[in-house]
């Protein structure tokens, strides 16, 4: 009777992964609703299992396993992490999708593909990994900013960096570090810190890059430069918790040096150029490059604990990194802590997520200054210092020049930044179709910079014999409130996914700048202490609110400028200890707001046709009532051609993507530029060269005039892409064509005189067009059990052009002796951004004087009158990366090469320092400059003589790792050892240290356009070897 009827049994067992039991994994009998979840210890019990039925074990992030049941009472299963499955998920704005379903141009890089070695900030993790994303580390200074350009540069004055979103919180785009000038120069341009320094790269799970408007328009006014979404790691596996520990030791050195004249060569050259060698011989012999450069050892330690307990998971990490730069006095330290906690309540209908980071970064910077004049900054001084000067801080080189030892010893610039980024989200599933989410974010950074130059420093006006310092603070506070409602419905042949949302974010910036002259001590910490304590004491001595205060020996009182309740200047007795002789102080505090409404509809038909439409309305307090709201729509369509019957099995993937949309930009536009504002003008000690007096009474000034028409910069973007894959995607790739047109460019232009300020922000009639192609290809050459070998290659071509601009603006200041006011680039219609504009060098004449091509046809080639566009620019046309991965058993090898082509670098260093004329001023030059055949009294002007191709290929990263085989029974669950090299070699014809460079050489005029590709003694990128250890237990 019962013959042939299978017998139902009860099965129990444990589901685990390589780390141990896996709570919350699902166990289901295939084709039935009979199923359960594993408990806290990874155990399950399932009744009514019949012989021959198939048990399905699954867990997010793991390959699903199917087991045919053969009547046993105990069945243990170990799930394997599924890299493929993880790869497929792509985080997009306010949600996620899969590569398969994405309609926009979105790239995602997950932690296993990240770059290794010494990584100070998250962008470096994905440098070169993605086509069309140019991540340039412009300086080898630890903790310095990085420029990220997605599909070229769209904007001019405004920021070209993308919007960064960390766990759903859009960050403010500007730097968070207070910067100091030491009083040497008012607009000294030391590299600003990277705003992402606070994130421990080790905490990052994946980075998504949204490239086209269909993906970024959901971020509306902040999407024009692309969006980078950073998702941090959560606790995903292991009951009882897993500890992960990693430790790195890195050794960095500078790999290229200039070949400068040795002391005897230098003295011979002085004699040969008509000088009196005996009079410039200081009797010593110093290799100044060796004095300021060093080989350093840096360390990173991370400890993470993660636990998944079924109804939620938690991950907590502690990180410590101390990185030393290859120039003396440059270092970066980060102490960070992070907690990610996700909890499900009410039958998993309510989800709570809390992510928090607390970090402290400490940065020390050597005296570098991108706008340094004839004496150079510490690098310029070291490259040009007379090599016969002994390495002694007390020697005056004469002629107003710097002694590098003296300058290095007398300068200190330290920035300490605390930052907290916390967000909490609550998501409730009302029905399987409808859910809503509220996300609250709070981001606060608090930064302090103390920067001093001692009175011992020789030959700096206003500093020598006086001492100077600045103490600046910068606090930024950003609050986010976001609410989204999501409706998903599956129909018979289609899917609908609708998202609507509201977001409010405010951005407050406050802090102060103070500067002092006249110190009683030359101890650098003592100077900093005297400055900060005097600033604090003076602040406490003033009652009521104020904007500014100042005092100096030539004034009896402390003068206080107050704005509220009434603008007035008051004087009061100085009843606090004056640690510095003269002090000026200025407060600032302002808040901008952004309010947004947004929505997205995704509709998928027959799993082949995918439609996406998004819309965002952004309201910003940076614009007046007329233009307060900007509207940013986008639409996209994707067609899974590979799923169509008429495509054979040749393609495993074939997908066409079309998209278009409008995004905006308001970055670079300061607070309140559309109204008239009055405030006390800046008081500068720095303009008064002897530094300890304040003579001019400053007063209330109009700092902004009303500009009711100010509006958004808008980028219209079109993208066509094809994704393809063959042989089960063993060979896969994609190709994208795009065109982006940015209109209503925000620039500072001169208003009609008379005007309060010579420049003010406005939208000019000009557009910047970027168009290009991106191509990415992956191939797995070997896929065997023991051995894998794969390669991925990407290449992007971008073309950039300015259109419709009636006028021209010079940019790209070139600095150095005799180069005041000199520039190398010009903004004009018909050429790319950062196009070089200069005289064309035509060789030396018989006397060794430079000659130039005659452009204006007056018969004389003149470096000033005969300037022209030379058909070169500072933006690479082609960026490319090649990644090779090889593994065999427990060994793995990864090699990553990056290249950039089609751009030029202006070698400001050579223009300023390496020419025969510098011998006249008893400064050292390179052997090449000595042999160039130049007359030592020849003048040097900006010309193509110093313009060089920047094309390069770099072995960016190479690593070898070994996973130590373990029994699995001990405390230690896994152990990995690795060696990583960064910047191992560089192939380039560029004669400077490194062509991947952009030094902020200051402002040529108040239009203050940024420039690219100018190398004025940039901080070299070091070569680094890192030994790493990763363990879990």
């Amino acid at each position: 009777m019962c013959f042939g009827v299978a017998k139902a049994q009860t099965v129990s067992g444990t589901v685990s992964d390589s780390n141990g039991p896996l709570p919350g994994a699902s166990v289901v009998i295939k084709g039935t609703s009979n199923g359960t979840q594993t408990d806290f210890d990874g155990n399950y019990t399932l009744n009514n299992v019949t012989d021959g039925s198939v048990m399905v074990f699954s867990y997010i992030g793991y390959a699903t396993q199917e087991v045919s049941y053969t009547g046993q009472t105990t069945l243990d299963v170990t799930l394997q992490e599924d890299a493929q499955a993880l790869d497929e998920v792509v985080i997009i704005g306010y949600g996620q999708t899969t590569v398969k379903d994405a309609t926009g141009s979105v790239a995602s890089v997950t932690s296993e593909d990240f770059n290794g070695g010494v990584i100070a900030s998250p962008e470096q993790l994905i440098q070169g990994k993605t086509a069309g994303v140019n991540i340039a580390q412009n300086s080898g200074e630890p903790g310095a900013g990085i420029s990220v350009n997605i599909r070229g540069a769209n904007s001019v004055r405004a920021n070209n960096n993308p919007l960064f979103v960390v766990d759903g919180v859009p960050l403010f785009g500007q730097n968070t570090d207070a910067t100091g000038t030491s009083g040497r120069d008012n607009d000294a341009t030391s590299a600003t810190g990277n705003p992402l320094n606070f994130l421990n790269p080790n905490d990052i799970e994946s980075i998504s890059i949204l490239k086209d408007a269909s993906a970024t328009a959901i971020y509306g006014s902040r999407g024009a430069n692309g969006v980078v979404i950073i998702t941090t790691k959560t606790g995903k596996a292991g009951s009882g918790g897993v500890f992960e520990f990693s430790s790195n030791l890195s050794i960095s050195s500078h790999n290229r040096q200039f070949e400068l004249l040795k002391p005897n060569q230098f003295l011979d050259a002085i004699t040969a150029s008509g000088g009196n060698a005996a009079n410039v011989d200081f009797g010593g012999g110093t290799d100044w490059q060796e004095v300021i450069f060093r080989t350093t050892t840096s360390t990173t330690q991370n400890l993470a604990y993660s636990q998944n307990y079924g109804s939620g998971n938690i991950r907590a990490t502690l990180g410590y990194q101390k990185q030393f730069g290859v120039i003396e006095k440059s270092d970066f330290e980060r102490i960070s802590g992070r907690v990610n906690w996700n909890q499900r309540f009410l039958d998993d209908k309510l989800k709570l997520g809390i992510q928090g980071t607390l970090s402290r970064t400490n940065r020390s910077q050597p005296p570098l200054q991108g706008n340094a004049g004839f004496a150079g900054d510490i690098l310029g001084a070291a490259y040009s210092a007379n090599p016969t000067i002994p390495n002694n801080p007390n020697i005056d080189p004469g002629g107003g020049l710097l002694n590098p030892r003296n300058y290095l010893d007398g300068a200190q610039n330290i920035t300490n930044t605390n930052r907290a980024l916390i967000n909490a989200s609550l998501e409730y599933e009302f029905t399987p179709e409808l859910s809503a989410k509220v996300n609250l974010g709070y981001d606060k950074s608090d930064s302090e910079n103390v920067s001093v130059l001692s009175s011992n420093i020789i030959n700096i006006d206003g500093v020598s014999n006086v001492g100077a310092g600045t103490f600046n603070t910068l606090e930024r506070e950003n609050q986010l409130l976001e609410a989204t409602v999501n409706y998903r419905k599956e129909f018979e042949n289609s899917n609908l996914d609708v998202l609507v949302g509201y977001a409010y974010q405010d951005f407050r910036n406050f802090g102060f700048n103070s500067a002092a002259r006249g110190f009683n001590t030359t101890d650098l910490n003592g100077m900093g202490g005297a400055l900060t304590s005097t600033v604090n004491a003076a602040q406490n001595a003033i009652s009521g609110s104020f904007q500014q205060f100042y005092y100096a020996p030539n004034r009896d009182d402390l003068t206080v400028n107050r704005l509220f309740p009434n603008a007035e200047t008051t004087n009061q007795d100085i009843n606090f200890a004056r640690g510095v002789q003269a002090l000026v102080f200025d407060n600032f505090d302002n808040t901008d707001e952004l309010q947004s409404f947004f929505g997205r509809i995704n509709y998928t038909l027959s799993n082949k046709y995918i439609f996406t439409a998004t819309m965002r309305a952004d309201g910003s307090s940076r614009f007046g009532p007329e233009n307060q709201y900007g509207y940013f729509p986008s639409g996209a369509f994707a067609w899974q051609i590979g799923e169509e019957d008429f495509i054979g099995d040749g393609f495993s993937t074939l997908k066409l993507r079309l998209s278009g949309g409008i995004t905006g930009n308001q970055d670079g536009l300061g607070f309140g530029q559309f109204v008239a504002r009055q405030r006390y003008s800046q008081i500068n000690l720095g303009t008064i060269q002897n530094g300890v007096t304040i003579d001019n009474e400053n007063g209330l000034a109009i700092i902004a005039t009303d500009q009711p028409d100010l509006r958004w910069e808008e980028t219209t973007d079109f993208n066509i892409g094809i994704d393809f894959g063959f042989n089960n995607d063993r060979l896969s790739g994609s190709i994208d064509f795009y065109r982006r047109d940015t209109q209503d460019i925000l620039l500072q232009t001169p208003p009609a005189a008379p005007s309060t300020n010579p420049f003010q922000f406005g939208n000019v009639d000009a557009s910047v067009i970027n168009q290009g192609v991106e191509f990415a290809l992956n191939y797995d050459f070997i896929q065997s059990e023991d051995t894998t070998f794969g390669a991925s290659f990407n290449i992007a071509y971008n073309e950039n052009e300015i259109n419709d601009f009636a006028g021209s603006i010079n940019l790209g200041p070139v600095n150095g002796p005799g180069l005041t006011g000199a520039f190398a680039q010009r903004f004009e219609a018909g050429v790319p951004l950062f196009s070089y504009y200069m005289a064309i060098f035509d060789g030396f004449d018989g006397d060794g004087n430079p000659t130039y091509v005659d452009i204006d046809g007056n018969g004389v080639g003149d470096p000033d009158a005969d300037k022209t566009f030379v058909d070169e620019d500072g933006l690479p046309d082609i960026t490319t990366g090649l990644n090779l991965n090889f593994s065999h058993k427990n060994w793995d090898v990864n090699v990553f090469l990056a290249g950039q082509f089609g751009f030029s670098v202006y070698n400001n260093t050579a223009n300023a320092l390496f020419n025969a004329g510098q011998l006249n001023t008893s400064r050292n030059i390179t052997v090449d400059a000595l042999n160039a055949g130049e007359n030592p009294s020849a003048s040097t002007a900006v010309s193509t003589r110093f313009l060089e191709s920047g094309d390069f290929v770099r072995l960016q990263n190479a690593s070898i790792g070994y996973n130590v085989p373990l029994s699995g029974d001990g405390t230690l669950k896994s152990l990995r050892l690795s060696v990583t090299g960064q910047n191992l070699f560089l192939i380039t014809d560029y004669s400077g240290i490194d062509p991947e460079v952009t030094v902020n050489t200051g402002q040529l005029n108040q239009a203050a356009l940024p420039s690219r590709g100018i190398d004025w003694t940039s901080f070299p990128n070091p070569r680094t070897i890192t030994f790493g250890l990763n363990a879990t237990f």
Partner: protein
């Protein structure tokens, strides 16, 4: 039922979110006063400070100073090896080959128009300035408008009552002069009378300063009248008479010539100073001194600004030496062969070497070997003798503005570092100029005794009286008395000498009357259709 419940949840959620956060996106007055347009100033006293602070830019060596002096025969900055190439800015000014985008032309147009607007904003009735503050504003507005008129021939005026987007009206020639004169008359009425010698109070407008400027404007009125229409013109007798009476009114307040010429250029009291600005004199001192001419306060000069030998040769004395006591006239100054002992009046000895700091650095025109405090002959940076030459030559010995060595050219120094290398006391108006203006008005109108007036000055300066003054002699006297004080271009134009050839002026630029005015900056032509480019550009 269920659907209704869902709807309820959603509505609740959205309304909570909405109530707590919907914002009007208005910015707050947290660190500045905010208005929808100019509505008057918050504090006029403070704005007057700010206005005068702006005027202190007169200490700059570039911009308006460069336009006034480097475009004349008085100053030039050769390119010394790599030094001072500076994108050709200095060379082009001296050669009269400036183009349409020189920063030294654009910046003064912006700056002095900004000062003019700052004054207008103080004068806007909504600001509620006191009569005294208004008088200061009239004075500075007149000075600003006059500076723009003198250099550019066109003065844009913004009515502060109109919206910021309104296009400013442009005044030229006689109409512009009328505006300036009206402001000066209001200034003379409202400004305080400050007696000669009360120098500390002369960093702001005074009646004497306003009278001085009015005399200057009237003396040049015939030039301004025809500036855009071909030039020429003759001075009106009534204007000349008024110049004379204005100078007499200044003298009546006790202003008089000072016996010790270089004493005028200190921050101490004297009878000549009429108006000084709180501008550091450092640029004037260090822009020409060599890197190895140092004081404990300053790591050395910048080795740029120099003068032509032909300018130096106007003075009485040995053309090949200006050493102390070589028979030159007082105004040519001298090169000391060593410093003076510490303790000399007005000096300091910060390095305690027993020698007054900076006292080895000479006055006036520095030619030939220069000496250190202890009398050692100084060297240049190559180790050669630091000896300034009369001529500008390149490495091949040929006259040249570029490829010069460190020591070519005579250096000019009127403020001396021994009295402070960066003292904030820069003389703008002084009585000797007023007296010379009077002589010129007498000469041009044929009234009074111009020769006697100029001999009054020559006597005090220790040079022989002139027999019968002519125009050329008057210009030369102005050149010798007022060198590097910012008047040379204005004088040369008025005396018809600005278009003559001088050393290194561009070959084709002689007699090019385009150069009488500077070009209107190109972005301004785009921004304000009422402006027209000046003739020839």
């Amino acid at each position: 039922m269920k659907r209704r419940q869902v709807k309820f949840y959603v509505m609740t959620l959205l309304s909570v979110v909405g109530l707590s956060s919907c914002t009007d996106l208005e910015i707050e007055e947290s660190d500045s006063f905010i208005d929808e347009g100019f509505q008057g100033l918050e504090n006029t006293a403070s704005a007057v400070n700010q206005m005068y602070s702006g005027v202190s830019r007169l200490g700059d060596q570039a911009n308006i100073y460069a336009l006034r002096e480097v475009t004349s025969d008085a100053l030039l900055i050769p390119t010394r090896g790599a030094d001072w190439g500076d994108n050709g800015r200095w060379r082009k000014l001296h050669q009269h080959e400036w183009g349409l985008e020189e920063q030294d032309i654009i910046t003064p147009f912006d700056n002095w128009n900004a000062s003019q607007l700052a004054a207008s904003q103080i004068l806007d009735e909504r600001s509620g300035a006191t009569p005294g503050e208004a008088a200061d504003a009239y004075f500075i507005r007149a000075y600003s408008m006059w500076s723009i008129l003198d250099l550019f021939g066109q003065v844009p005026i913004r009515d502060t009552q109109l919206p910021t987007t309104a296009i400013p009206e442009v005044f030229t020639g006689a109409a512009a002069v009328d505006l300036i004169i009206a402001d000066l008359d209001a200034a003379i009425l409202g400004l305080p009378a400050v007696a000669a010698g009360n120098t500390d109070a002369m960093n702001r407008g005074t009646q004497a300063a306003a009278r001085f400027l009015k005399a200057k404007v009237l003396l040049n009125r015939h030039i301004y009248d025809a500036q855009l229409t071909g030039g020429g013109g003759t001075p009106a007798a009534a204007d000349m008479a008024e110049v004379i009476s204005l100078v007499d009114a200044i003298a009546a307040e006790g202003y008089a010539l000072e016996a010790d010429y270089f004493n005028i250029f200190r921050n101490t009291s004297d009878t000549e100073t009429i108006w000084w600005t709180e501008s550091g004199v450092g640029n004037r001192i260090w822009n020409g001194l060599h890197y190895n001419l140092t004081t404990p306060e300053q790591a050395g000069g910048w080795n740029g600004f120099s003068t032509l030998a032909e300018y130096f040769d106007m003075f009485e004395g040995d053309p090949n030496s200006n050493l102390e006591g070589s028979g030159q006239e007082e105004r040519r100054g001298f090169v000391p062969t060593e410093g003076v002992a510490a303790g000399a009046e007005g000096t300091v000895d910060d390095d305690n070497d027993g020698i007054a700091d900076g006292s080895n650095i000479g006055f006036g025109f520095l030619l030939g070997q220069q000496y250190g405090p202890d009398g050692t002959a100084l060297e240049d940076r190559q180790g050669g003798p630091l000896s300034f030459s009369r001529e500008f030559v390149d490495g091949d010995g040929a006259p040249n503005l570029i490829n010069n060595s460190e020591v070519t050219g005579i250096r000019v120094i009127k403020y001396n570092p021994r009295f402070g290398g960066f003292t904030n006391h820069s003389i703008q108006f002084r009585y000797a100029d007023a007296l010379l203006m009077k002589a010129e008005a007498e000469l041009r109108s044929g009234t009074g005794n111009a020769t006697a007036t100029i001999n009054e000055l020559r006597t005090v300066r220790g040079v022989a009286p002139i027999g019968d003054l002519d125009e050329a002699e008057l210009l030369e006297e102005r050149g010798k008395e007022l060198f590097v004080e910012g008047w040379r271009r204005n004088d040369m134009i008025r005396f018809g000498q600005y278009l003559r050839q001088w050393e290194f002026k561009g070959d084709t630029e002689t007699a090019n009357d385009t150069r009488l005015l500077f070009p209107i900056p190109l972005p301004q032509l785009l921004a304000n259709p009422n402006l027209q480019q000046n003739p020839g550009y």
